[in-house]
């Protein structure tokens, strides 16, 4: 506003105006507003009860040997210090080895699903962003996988992926004759690709939505100016679209990464309580260790390790990329 702060002329200060006989109203005092806090209070209460408190209890449980002997009386469970953590982290031990394996599989799965969702999302967003007649239908169609309840969607996939009667094999083998033998999709090594594909199918519409919103905030004049200057479509994409989508991308990729890494519903509905080794995703792995083996202490320790890993990733991501800051956008 002002480069140098000169003394305000008398006619502009409150005192001055009072002196000149004007009716000057007292400044409105800013009262501490209680009302917004009341509105937030129920949500905060439930957040603490449903999320924070159980998490803290979980951290506490991770230091105990909580098996079926003590499940009725948690305080009687023996304190084992960091043993659950050491078991989980020791890659040469059977538990730690399985956990490390599960971690790598989950990491590969997450990278594929997030990357694939982004690519599909941006392609569909750019398609729908341009004006054409059936645009509304495409928009609705693309959102269907995301809108379907998880169980319904994934169980339909599990029927389709069945080896002998499933629609996938019927299509590939009987109709299109692309393959000779009917492969297994839910057991063996193909199980990894099945779960990647199903997750990708479910999560790309979310990327599509976010990216579409981001695209719509890019002014069309930029594109016009660029094309007048002779920029190719790829050049326009690279120099206009991508940089202007940066804020959306930063948040989208982080959120998708966290959600996909934690994904439980899809592998559980596809594989049940005994997933094939190739598709042993981390959340399901921890679940099996806790609820099927009744070893809650170990499961809690694994969950805490997972939480720490995701926290570290998120903090590094946010710091390095300066998400939400005034950076370059």
């Amino acid at each position: 506003m002002g480069s140098t702060r000169d003394k305000k002329p008398e006619s502009e200060t409150r005192r001055g105006r009072q002196r000149s006989g004007e009716r000057v109203f007292p400044k409105a005092r800013v009262r501490p507003q209680v009302f917004p806090y009341l509105l937030v209070l129920p949500a905060l209460l439930f957040e603490v009860l449903v999320h924070i408190l159980p998490m803290l209890v979980g951290v506490g449980v991770s230091f105990l040997e909580l098996t079926q002997f003590y499940v009725r009386n948690w305080s009687a469970a023996p304190f084992v210090g960091f043993r659950n953590y050491l078991d989980g982290l020791d890659p040469s031990g059977p538990i730690g080895g399985a956990l490390a394996q599960s971690f790598l599989i989950t990491f590969a799965y997450t990278v594929l699903v997030v990357g694939g969702s982004w690519v599909l999302g941006i392609s569909a967003a750019m398609l729908v962003n341009s004006e054409f007649r059936a645009r509304r239908w495409f928009r609705a169609l693309f959102l269907i996988p995301y809108a379907l309840p998880v169980y319904v969607a994934v169980i339909a996939w599990s029927f389709m992926l069945q080896q002998n009667n499933g629609a996938m094999n019927t299509l590939l083998v009987d109709n299109l004759h692309l393959l000779e033998e009917r492969p297994f999709w839910l057991i063996g090594n193909n199980a990894f690709w099945s779960v990647v594909m199903t997750s990708l199918w479910r999560s790309w519409p979310f990327a599509f939505l976010m990216l579409l919103a981001g695209l719509q905030s890019i002014p069309a004049q930029l594109y016009e100016a660029a094309s007048i200057d002779g920029a190719s479509r790829w050049r326009r994409f690279r120099t206009i679209t991508l940089p202007l989508l940066r804020p959306v991308n930063l948040v989208l990729l982080l959120v998708l990464f966290l959600w996909t890494f934690n994904e439980f519903n899809t592998p559980y509905v596809l594989f049940g309580q005994a997933p094939p080794a190739a598709a042993d995703l981390l959340s399901l792995h921890i679940y099996v260790n806790s609820f099927v083996d009744w070893n809650f202490g170990l499961g809690a320790a694994m969950s805490v390790l997972l939480l720490l890993f995701l926290l570290v990733v998120s903090v590094i991501y946010i710091r390095v990329l300066r998400v939400g800051g005034r950076g370059d956008a």
Partner: protein, 474 residues
């Protein structure tokens, strides 16, 4: 901006100015206006009301068991062909019980996929039914939680005494040497179903008695157009662990050593599992699709449709055969084959002691009523009626001899349960054991289905990994 305001302030007449200001900026002093309740206050009250309601709601959510007085809560497992059938059959029993004792029973039938989890939640939270069914292989695990009423001498007398139960079924009700916390309700065992019609067509006169005969017969019956000698459920954790158990016993092996250490990778167990997996892998007498079956319905359905000539399954497969429309006289039941000759240390075990047990929660509100209900369900009349309806075997000596259970097929199952069955290891970690072995065998079946014959060293590798995990875990 300042200028504008000054000018406006100067030109407006006094009273109008106040109104204008109030209208424009709202109650500047934060005080009351002419309206009875300002918007702010209304919203404040509303917010406080919502907060209060939620707190009340939280407090109101009850605690403790829901039964008490003259009602009992009963969680039944799914024994019939459908949950509705269970409700109908048990509804009859419950009506009769009300006539006799005046206690009404609320039944909830829970599918197998959820039963274990529901019991776990009830155990942890202390809020559950009064009486419930459990798979008898879970009896030792659940016993260790301490959440169930122990059936000591006094309690056993209240329900009719220990001697009324079949000794084999009763032996599978808890860890040896400890007071059981459940008693048998329905009995089940494995047996070999064979398709009489297909046997006749192929000119086979009698069902096979040894594993060599079994494989040869199955190979003869495996033909074109998707016909196979046998069916199995390779992705079923429970099936796999049962087979590892009883086939392992036939070869003289044991899942745990005398001292209680796991021995899943002992040579006998490895041979047994290799044999089972190679039915699909090497011998190719079962369809590769079987490696994906896990629901307990797919393989009996294949049998009912004539796609498989034999299945080795528990007698509750009959409910699937009936609903699939397979005529009674089209199939027969024989004893499970044994290796010939029986290897050193081998035992003629054809099944684990399978069945459903019934337990009472320690904090059941109406304990006496619950005991009466258990006595009623394990009484002669109900044992005959319920087991007939569900296709299972009675667990009491008296009911066993009854006419209804002397049909040819049930006789075989009865004999196996009495003479050729042993309980699965009665240890608290039974659930974990089943998961680890079952999962290992499931992975082996996946290999067999995609790659053919599975060698004993591959089997040993998987079972060793499972063994390590069993030994390591808390």
């Amino acid at each position: 901006m300042q200028e504008k305001r000054q000018r406006w302030v100067k030109t407006m007449p006094e009273g109008k100015r106040q109104e204008e200001i109030r209208e424009r900026y709202g109650p500047v002093h934060g005080g009351r206006t002419h309206r009875s309740l300002s918007r702010k206050d209304f919203l404040r009250l509303g917010g406080a009301g919502v907060a209060g309601l939620t707190l009340f709601g939280g407090v109101a959510c009850g605690g403790g068991s829901e039964g008490g007085g003259n009602t009992l809560n009963y969680w039944a497992s799914n024994q019939g062909a459908s949950i509705d059938q269970d409700k109908r059959v048990l509804g009859r029993a419950v009506k009769e019980f009300k006539k006799q004792s005046g206690i009404s029973v609320k039944i909830k039938v829970i599918p197998w996929s959820d039963l274990y989890n529901n019991i776990l939640t009830a155990t942890t939270s202390g809020q559950g039914p009064d009486v419930l069914n459990i798979g008898n292989t879970w009896s030792a695990s659940l016993q260790a939680t301490g959440a169930f009423l122990p059936f000591d001498g006094e309690m056993l007398d209240k329900i009719g005494g220990k001697s009324k139960f079949l000794s084999s079924s009763f032996a599978a009700s808890g860890a040896p040497g400890e007071t059981p916390t459940s008693v048998p309700l329905y009995g089940l065992s494995y047996g070999m179903f064979y398709n009489k019609k297909l046997f006749q067509e192929a000119g086979i006169s009698a069902p096979p008695k040894t594993w060599d005969e079994f494989v040869a017969t199955a190979k003869e019956l495996t033909g074109p157009s998707d016909r196979w000698g046998m069916a199995l459920e390779g992705a079923s954790i429970t099936e796999n662990s049962h087979w590892a158990f009883f086939l392992g016993k036939q070869y003289g092996g044991s899942l745990f050593t005398q001292s209680g250490k796991p021995s899943f990778d002992s040579p006998e167990i490895v041979s047994a599992v290799a044999q089972y997996v190679n039915f699909l892998g090497k011998e190719k007498i079962a369809s590769p699709a079987c490696a994906e079956y896990s629901d307990g319905i797919s393989s009996p359905t294949d049998f009912a449709n004539g796609k498989a000539a034999m299945i080795i399954y528990q007698n509750n497969a009959e409910r699937v055969l009936r609903t699939s429309g397979m005529p009674d006289d089209e199939y027969g039941v024989a004893k499970v084959p044994l290796p010939d000759p029986l290897p050193p240390g081998g035992e003629p075990i054809m099944s684990h002691v399978a069945g459903i047990n019934i337990s009472i929660f320690k904090n059941a509100a109406n304990q006496d009523g619950a005991l009466e209900f258990v006595k009623f369900l394990t009484g002669n009349e109900q044992q005959v009626d319920l087991n007939q309806s569900f296709g299972s075997l009675p667990v009491t000596e008296d009911a066993r001899g009854v006419q209804e259970f002397s049909d040819e097929k049930l006789k075989v199952f009865n004999e196996i349960l009495e003479n050729n069955a042993e309980p699965m290891p009665l240890i608290p970690e039974e659930g974990k054991m089943e998961t680890l072995i079952g999962d290992a065998v499931k992975q082996l079946f996946a290999k067999a289905a995609t790659g053919g014959a599975v060698s004993e060293s591959e089997v040993k590798k998987e079972l060793s990994a499972a063994n390590q995990k069993m030994a390591a875990g808390g």
